[in-house]
């Protein structure tokens, strides 16, 4: 039976062409949930990211102290635990249900979404929708270069490179068994109808196989091949050679997936890369223990650790604060002057 409702979830790391792909889908009739994150100079054509999804994911990540490009393999267990909370799933399901009112195609893009693939998959299934995960593939050095240019250096290149590896190899693993596809950003810019047709075949959307002329024109006006402004290579990036090797191996393992129609090519090489990365990170974390301890001590002096944020009251807390004593003062219909 053909699924009527189509949910495309764009995952992977920011600056890899996800905005362009979301924009194309929007022109092809997919709903980008509103309101969106406002365009800025880093992405003047718009991010295509629902404001709600960004805020909600951010809140969840904060609650377990995970950042968007977190390099820690251990972070996955934390976000998995958050996603298993019932009230979290209820909220996502409620939001997602509203998005499908009046439309059958929805695309959600948020780099943070990668941390909650299982949660999204379950909630979509509850609504009778099988999601499709789309991962944009762009050489990591381009991604890192773009991130450095637009996001600044609050996170160093090495950390970003590690984060890229962590997210890409782990989301690949999380997405196995699901309907998914990988798309080369470069190919998208060069031949978007071909890549869209690939998606059309995957999600059984015949209208995407041969896009109608009026929509084709609108997409063509939107896609700008000059968007790919970065030149590849490690020069100019401050990443240790050992890490460069890990990243290169990960990219080498991921890249062929973009040639694959359904993203189900054997992934033995990626399993090895992921295991190696996890070990490499454990080693470096062990090496850096003194730095970590020093940072913890410094923060402890300044303030108490912040409590873990929650999106709902804990079980032992009352749902609503105790009623305040009634104030007896009479109130009048006084206008705000």
């Amino acid at each position: 039976m053909v699924d009527v409702k189509k949910l495309v979830l764009l995952i992977g790391v920011g600056r890899s062409g996800t905005s362009a792909f979301t924009g194309i889908l929007r022109e092809l009739g997919f709903l980008v949930p509103q309101p969106e994150v406002e365009p800025d100079e880093t992405n003047p054509r718009g991010f295509g990211e629902p404001r709600w999804a960004v805020d909600w994911h951010t809140r969840l990540l904060k609650s377990v102290r995970v950042t968007t490009i977190d390099s820690r393999p251990a972070a996955w267990a934390k976000t998995l635990a958050v996603g298993e909370r019932q009230e979290v799933a209820d909220e996502l399901r409620s939001w997602l249900e509203v998005q499908f009112v009046g439309t059958e195609r929805v695309v959600v893009k948020d780099p943070r979404l990668s941390w909650f693939l299982g949660l999204w998959q379950r909630c979509a299934a509850d609504l009778g929708v099988e999601p499709t995960f789309v991962t944009m593939l762009r050489p990591p050095t381009e991604v890192l270069g773009s991130a450095r240019q637009w996001y600044g250096n609050w996170q160093n290149d090495a950390s970003r490179a590690a984060g890229w590896t962590n997210i890409m190899v782990h989301t690949e693993k999380e997405g196995r068994g699901s309907r998914r596809m990988f798309i080369h950003y470069e190919r998208l810019l060069a031949d978007w109808p071909g890549e869209i047709a690939r998606l059309g075949r995957l999600i059984d959307a015949p209208d995407l196989l041969d896009v109608a002329a009026d929509r084709r024109d609108r997409v063509a006006a939107f896609v700008d091949p000059s968007l790919r402004r970065q030149t590849p290579g490690w020069d100019g990036l401050d990443v240790p050679a050992a890490l460069q090797q890990v990243v290169d191996r990960a990219w080498a393992a991921l890249e062929p997936l973009g040639d694959d129609e359904a993203g189900d090519r054997p992934t033995d090489g990626l399993d090895k890369v992921r295991a190696d990365y996890d070990a490499f990170y454990a080693d470096t974390e062990a090496i850096a223990q003194s730095s970590v301890r020093a940072a913890q001590n410094a923060r402890g002096k300044r303030s108490k650790p912040a409590p873990v944020e929650s999106t709902a009251p804990a079980a032992d807390q009352p749902a609503t604060p105790a009623p305040k004593r009634k104030r007896r003062r009479r109130r009048f219909l006084r206008l705000r002057s």
Partner: protein
């Protein structure tokens, strides 16, 4: 499984209307119905239509029976009905699409025994409210009862109800058979027998006012059978109440019978014959014998007096009172005796008649009237209320006449009272029609400080403002408020320190101050390819299972969508999405035919959130209203008048954002219009009339903007009058299509943000022109009469009549002629012919022409005198000659040396004056006006010997009849008439080579449409005319000046409405053939020796019942008397044949009725009257 609703439709010879009725049932949004059509022995095509309907739609079935009458047919239909509910529909009426859905929705909710819905009347000129039901259906009331809501006593129609069939059968309800007035003996008992009743304020029934020749039951009030059956009907109800031991209700009902039912029959006693009068006294006294002695006490004094005299069978006195009521009641101030107020009515203090003084005591009449013109929240939280108030009949002539106190009413008593500041408001006196007293000091203003408005009492419906008026020996209090029209700025909603508050006049007429429920409040809206997304906040503890609910304001349509609510945070944020296609699909099911009666072209949806509690979503003032185009429709998201979010699906329409008066008295309008491509024109339509006026309407399609300019006075229009007539004008826009005269107009609305700036007012000469709001956002132009403030209104008119006129009458007479032609609406007819003859002779007289509403420009040879102005009263008092062609004002009492020349207006076909006595349509207001004024006439012009005898029969005129011929025919017989006709054609824009048909029907007396206005009855079919004559002819449509009704929309190039053209003589000159019915134009056309064709489908009814003929018209008509448009078309196409076939009749008519029309009649009149 039985259907939910059975609809019983009794049918008897209703082929003309039946299909519309059955279609309206077939298209009900409630699908689960059966329709039992009971053919009551029809002899026309009724049964065929019903059979075809039953074949098309299996829900319809036909029962046929020999003729047994309406009640019998209904009863038989009810017996075979199988539905859970049963309704009755008369087969010439229409049921709006949501009617049964709405009524059933109420019953399902309440469990009541029946539901009753609002009714509107439907006539040829549109749909109007049913005034006697206004108090019943003011608001929705579920589960009420006549004992709780006594106004239901007026709810006597059977067809607006949906009965639970178990209730119907358990109480053995049956309509009486073989009588008129079948409804009341069932509906009133049903109201008492029911455990509870639902009152639905929405229109659920359209009651057709027939335009044909038949007089309906209610139009036959001097008919004996009607009298007897009505008396029997009210008697049966009264007895029912007595046998049930409902004494109090019986008393109340009996009072209502005197106030309504029997009063209608009493009020026509002056037009009735002796038999009717005798029967009336018998039946009325029989009824009063069984009524409580004080049954008349709650009635107004005038009615008490009439019933007192009826009880005494004092016919002459009663006739005196009836005449007084008609002519003087509104201008006779009350008198004070020993502290109490009494009506200064006939026989007060008359010792011979010995009518008890208590009969005259005024109480219910001294109604406090309160109008709010300004409601303003001030920055300090205070509320300013301004308007005017007075006690009816007493007025407020001086600063100290009254004191007005504003009272804040709370749920448990008064919360505060504040004295108000009196304001001098002579304009209020000018606005009010009754002439009892001056209202110059009725104005008030008061500012309520915030500490007088406790928030704890400000939940909806709890805190109201009332007025207490004290003075002139009385203290009256009212919480019922009026809004003047056009209304003042929209209902204000302001944000307080923590809540929005509103002050509004609610549906129940009370002025409520309340906190707006903003538990749910929208904050943003988005439009995404046909889906409307609404975001906002909701104060709710339980946030599970949130839904967004969209409810159609008419009917019970409801759409339901998921609603996202943030689980934490206070308040919760929500997001909901509404696919507009769902709304449009509902509209297709909902309504297209019945829409105009209630909601215009738009369908309004209200927006709610539901969790455990349902909350209407408020729309803050800061949130912008928007409209989007979707599949040719306009979807508008807007704020309701009380501050809530609503979605409106409507045709794309102009929204006025800016309005201003220019210094020339022109109204400029601009705004937005998401118009489909094309040219448009602005259409102004006069409310409750048939006047229309077109203006250019410039649309900038790219910018979605429009601009228009409305000229009110000094209009250069060859077809009509030179200014908009007095009244209320509404705005619409329609595509200009050229050939067919325009497509359906769409309404124009006002931008809600612009409402605060309205009304805007200017003056043009003596007129006040106001552009403002009707209802919530309907633009309205109110054109005032061509009178100054000190001339307008009943009180000022009374002063002019009673003071100025007598004082002027004592001044020297002027050598002047005052012409009164068709009540000041034209420069034409006999007065014009006489005027032009006088001017030609140049005898030095001054010429004054009465002009109403600036309708036309008088020629330079005369001076315009504004009708009813002080100059007009001066002229009436001092002009040596008054020349009138019909109406002569009551006030005129000719003085020594003053001569009134009654020219009448040509020959006449229909009976006039005294000959109408005893006819069903004769009215007190009509009869005396024409029978009594002859005492003021000095000369009466007659066109012929035959008409002289008709005039003598019609008018008790003892003085000189000038049998001169018809002066107005002179205008048509001038040597240069051919060139004059061509000139008129050119002015009217008739294309060269086209022939001109002048169609001039008269009104039908039984189709009354307001004071001295009547509808036309059946007219020629415009489509048939267009199809047959469209190529070669142009039709000029000229209705009688007392008639309302249109044949085609304004701007139609084929059928041109020339009803406002100042001269019918010009139109006759320009035409090739006249099609008319019973008008005097036939005499003119024959005088011109031109052909006449008569369209008289109601000939017998008109002759025998409606009006009657003054001449043996059906025998002597100088042309064919035809009953269908097709026949008229055939005759017009072969006028030679018409001439040949009616050659003898034509010649005989001419010899009998136009023997003196030689073009010199005016000269003979002038010789006779002005020689001295």
């Amino acid at each position: 499984m039985p259907p939910r609703v059975s609809v019983v439709v009794p049918m008897f010879n209703v082929a003309t209307y039946l299909q519309d009725c059955l279609d309206s049932l077939a298209q009900q949004s409630l699908r689960d119905i059966e329709v039992v059509m009971v053919d009551d022995g029809s002899t026309d095509d009724t049964a065929d239509i019903a059979v075809a309907m039953a074949q098309r739609d299996s829900r319809f079935r036909l029962v046929q029976q020999p003729n047994g009458g309406l009640g019998n047919a209904r009863n038989n239909g009810a017996e075979v009905a199988t539905g859970e509910f049963v309704a009755f529909v008369d087969s010439d009426d229409i049921v709006p699409r949501h009617a049964y859905e709405t009524l059933l929705g109420a019953l399902d909710k309440s469990g009541s025994d029946f539901a009753s819905g609002n009714v509107r009347r439907m006539s040829a000129i549109g749909i109007s409210p049913t005034s006697f039901l206004a108090n019943v259906f003011g608001q929705r009331r579920l589960g009420t009862h006549i004992t709780k809501f006594p106004a239901l006593i007026a709810d006597r129609i059977a067809c607006n109800k949906l009965f639970r069939r178990a209730f119907w059968t358990e109480n053995d309800l049956r309509f009486p058979e073989g009588v008129l007035y079948e409804d009341m003996p069932v509906t009133i008992p049903a109201h008492f027998l029911a455990r509870s009743v639902d009152v639905v304020d929405r229109t659920t029934y359209l009651w057709r006012v027939r335009e044909g020749g038949d007089l309906s039951i209610t139009q036959q009030r001097t008919d004996l059978r009607a009298l007897r059956d009505r008396a029997a009907a009210v008697d049966s109800v009264s007895r029912f109440l007595a046998t049930r031991g409902l004494a109090e209700h019986k008393r109340s009902y009996d009072t209502n019978v005197l106030r309504e039912d029997l009063r209608y029959f009493l009020d026509v006693l002056d037009a009735a014959d002796d038999d009717y009068r005798r029967q009336f006294f018998d039946l009325a006294n029989d009824f009063l014998d069984r009524a409580a002695p004080d049954v008349a006490t709650p009635l107004p004094a005038m009615q008490r007096l009439k019933w007192h005299l009826a009880r005494q069978r004092a016919l002459p006195e009663l006739l005196t009172v009836l005449e007084f009521e008609d002519r003087e009641l509104d201008s006779r101030p009350p008198v004070r005796r020993g502290g109490d107020w009494y009506g200064d009515y006939p026989f007060l203090d008359d010792k011979d008649r010995a009518v008890p003084r208590d009969v005259y005591r005024l109480d219910h009449e001294l109604v406090p009237v309160a109008a709010v013109e300004q409601l303003r929240w001030n920055d300090d939280g205070s509320l300013t209320v301004a308007g005017y108030a007075y006690v009816d009949m007493l007025g407020a002539p001086a600063r100290k006449s009254q004191t007005i106190t504003l009272v804040v009413e709370g749920p448990d008593g008064d919360l505060a009272s504040l004295p108000t500041e009196p304001m001098h408001r002579p304009d209020v006196t000018a606005e009010v029609r009754s002439g009892y007293a001056s209202l110059d000091w009725s104005g008030f203003t008061v500012t309520l400080p915030p500490w007088r408005l406790p928030a704890t009492r400000a939940r909806a419906g709890e805190m109201h403002l009332a007025l207490e008026i004290a003075g002139q020996g009385l203290r009256r209090r009212t919480d019922q408020w009026q809004w003047p029209t056009p209304r003042p700025p929209k209902t204000p909603i302001k944000t307080t320190a923590w809540k929005p508050v509103r002050a509004r006049v609610a549906a129940d007429g009370r002025l409520e101050v309340a906190i707006v429920d903003d538990h749910a409040s929208a904050s943003a809206h988005r439009w995404d390819g046909g889906v409307l997304q609404v975001e906002g906040t909701l104060q709710a503890r339980d946030r599970s299972a949130g839904r967004l609910r969209i409810t159609r304001r008419v009917g019970t349509g409801e759409l339901d969508y998921p609603l996202y609510l943030t689980p934490s945070g206070k308040p919760a944020e929500f997001v909901g999405r509404v696919p507009v296609a769902d709304l449009l699909a509902e509209v297709e099911v909902a309504d297209t035919a019945g829409h105009s009666e209630a909601q215009g072209d738009g369908v309004v949806w209200d927006v709610f959130t539901t969790t455990r509690v349902r909350r209407r979503v408020a729309m803050p003032l800061a949130m912008e209203e928007r409209a989007w185009l979707h599949n040719g429709r306009e979807i508008a998201l807007q704020r309701s008048r009380f501050g809530y979010l609503s979605v409106v699906d409507r045709s794309p329409r102009p929204v006025i954002q800016q309005a201003a008066w220019t210094s020339d008295g022109e109204l400029t309008l601009s705004g937005t219009f998401q118009a489909p491509p094309g040219d448009y024109e602005l259409l102004l339509q006069r409310r409750r009339g048939s006047d229309e006026r077109l203006y250019p309407f410039d649309v900038d399609g790219a910018q979605h903007r429009f601009a228009a300019t409305v000229t009110v006075v000094g209009i250069d229009d060859p077809l009509g009058s030179s200014s908009l007539s007095q009244g209320r004008w509404e705005f619409a826009v329609r595509p200009r299509t050229g050939s067919t005269g325009g497509a359906e107009p769409v309404d124009v609305t006002l931008d809600h943000a612009a409402l605060d700036h309205l009304p805007i007012v200017t003056t043009a000469g003596a007129r006040t022109l106001r552009f403002g709001v009707l209802g919530y956002d309907t633009p309205l132009l109110v054109v005032g009469p061509d009178l100054r403030d000190d001339e307008r209104g009943g009180f000022h008119q009374r002063l002019l009549e009673q003071r100025r006129y007598p004082s002027q009458r004592r001044r020297p007479i002027r050598d002047a002629v005052l012409y009164i032609c068709h009540d000041g609406t034209s420069y034409d007819d006999n007065p014009r012919a006489i005027h032009e003859e006088l001017v030609r002779r140049g005898n030095g007289l001054e010429h004054l022409w009465m002009v109403r509403d600036g309708r036309f420009v008088v020629p330079e040879s005369a001076t315009a005198v504004r009708a009813d102005s002080s100059d007009y009263y001066d002229a009436l008092a001092r002009c040596r000659y008054v020349v009138a062609n019909g109406y002569v004002p009551d006030v005129l009492r000719p003085r020594r040396g003053q001569r009134v020349l009654q020219t009448w207006h040509g020959g006449f076909v229909k009976q006039q004056g005294m000959e109408l006595a005893g006819r069903a349509v004769a009215r007190r207001a009509y009869l005396p006006a024409e029978t009594q004024r002859p005492d003021a006439w000095r000369f009466l012009v007659s066109p012929s010997a035959a008409m002289t005898s008709a005039l003598r029969r019609a008018f008790p005129f003892a003085q000189q009849v000038l049998e001169t011929g018809s002066p107005r025919a002179d205008l048509l017989l001038r040597p240069e008439r051919a060139s004059l006709g061509a000139e008129v054609r050119t002015r009217l824009g008739v294309p060269a080579g086209k022939k001109v048909l002048l169609y001039a029907p008269t009104y039908r007396d039984h189709l009354r449409q307001g004071r001295m206005r009547y509808r036309l009855g059946r007219t020629l079919d415009a489509d048939v005319l267009r199809g047959a004559l469209g190529e070669d002819w142009v039709v000029l449509f000229r209705r009688h000046h007392q008639a309302v009704g249109r044949l085609a929309p304004a701007g139609d190039p084929f059928i041109r409405d020339v009803s406002d053209h100042p001269s019918v003589s010009d139109l006759l000159l320009a035409s090739d053939v006249l099609v008319t019915d019973y008008t005097s134009l036939v005499f003119d056309q024959v005088a011109m020796n031109r052909p006449v064709v008569f369209f008289t489908p109601d000939l017998e009814a008109y002759r025998d019942d409606i009006r009657g003929f003054a001449i043996p018209f059906d025998r002597v008509a100088p042309g064919p008397l035809l009953a269908t448009t097709d026949d008229v078309v055939d005759a017009v196409r072969d006028l030679d044949l018409v001439r040949r076939d009616h050659e003898h009749a034509y010649a005989a008519f001419r010899a009998t009725y136009c023997p003196l029309d030689d073009g010199n009649a005016a000269g003979r009149v002038v010789d006779a009257v002005f020689r001295a």
